[in-house]
Each structure stands twice: as C-alpha cells, then as structure tokens.
Amino acid sequence: DQQVKQNSPSLSVQEGRISILNCDYTNSMFDYFLWYKKYPAEGPTFLISISSIKDKNEDGRFTVFLNKSAKHLSLHIVPSQPGDSAVYFCAASGLGGGSYIPTFGRGTSLIVHP
C-alpha cells in the first residue's frame, strides 16, 4: 500500500500563474518531507524540504506547506515558468518506526505553457 501518494499524474498551467502540486501520506511517523524535480534523461534533483516542526518553508518561487493533521503537503510555484516543466516527486521519511529511508510518491508531471 502506498504510504506517499501523489494523486494527480499531471498538471498543466499557464506561464506566470501558480502551480500547486499535492502530496498525501499515511505514515504518522514521517517527520521530514522533500520535493524533487526531474527532467527527462536526468536524475531527480532536490528542490525543497520541510520538517514536521514547521508548517511552511520558502525558497524563492517555491513554497512547501505542511498540514500534519491532514497528512498533506503541497508545493506552490509562483510564478510558474516554462523551465519548471518537469516531473515532481514528493518524498517522506521519519526517524521513528524504521521509516528513515525516504519513500517516494509516483510523481506529478507539470507542464507550464508559454
């Protein structure tokens, strides 16, 4: 059973608008969450992370929000640019319960139209 779910396989947005990518998790022992970005023919690259002691973390155009009670996190990209078109993976890990190895979602393919 999937512990980290990205229920939208794809998302299409217009350049300049906001992109919101969602991720849900089921394991309450997860306390560290990451987003990775992947271009075709390349490996994933780390984008931004958040620990469970925070509910928001910002890095330039990228903001991750964490709602622990709902076991939900989201990545906001504002404003979206064509170069943001990639597959985005959500990952989660936790030091408790043997879940310290990151578990990945299946990814969301973001397409930003000029």
Partner: protein
Amino acid sequence: DAGITQSPRYKITETGRQVTLMCHQTWSHSYMFWYRQDLGHGLRLIYYSAAADITDKGEVPDGYVVSRSKTENFPLTLESATRSQTSVYFCASSAGVNQPQHFGDGTRLSIL
C-alpha cells in the same frame, strides 16, 4: 569533479545474462541507494546501504544483488536478467538520515 556518476548510461542485454550497474560518489556520503523508475510506479527502492559493508533490502529487491566494499562505490548486479527488469535505474547518496539525496543521471537498461 565531485558528484555521483553511474555507468553505463545505456545497456542492452539478453535474458539470463548477468549485468552490473556501477555507481560512484565523491562526497564520502554514508548512505547510498538504488532505485528503479517505471511508468506508473515512480521511484521504487531496490537496496540501500548505510555504510561500507552494510546493505539492506528495499521494496523490490528480488533478482538483484548489491555490495559495498568501499564507501564511494555501490554496484548493483542483476544475476540473471529478466525482461521485467527493463527499467531506468537511479543511484543516489545522502550524508545521513533526513538529508536530501543526490541522484546520478541514471542507467537505461533494456533486456531483450
């Protein structure tokens, strides 16, 4: 150059053959990982290693063997390749738990 490199980038082989995918990192990271990426499945963990000579199974370990005699290398071997092992394989490393992973550019493996 510092980083994580995988070789080969592309490999075609036949069922029943043994094939080894190489992974080398220059950061002296403790943790190393092998994933496979398949359509509809995202990244699935095959094996991981917390340090030299310590390895453990991930989600999909069957048919694979790993070793880690040196901190910087983490080869993945398919002892008798099957068509279901056709995939893109990614190696990654991290400095510790709850630390971001650094990925190689992948090996695209086709088994005929």
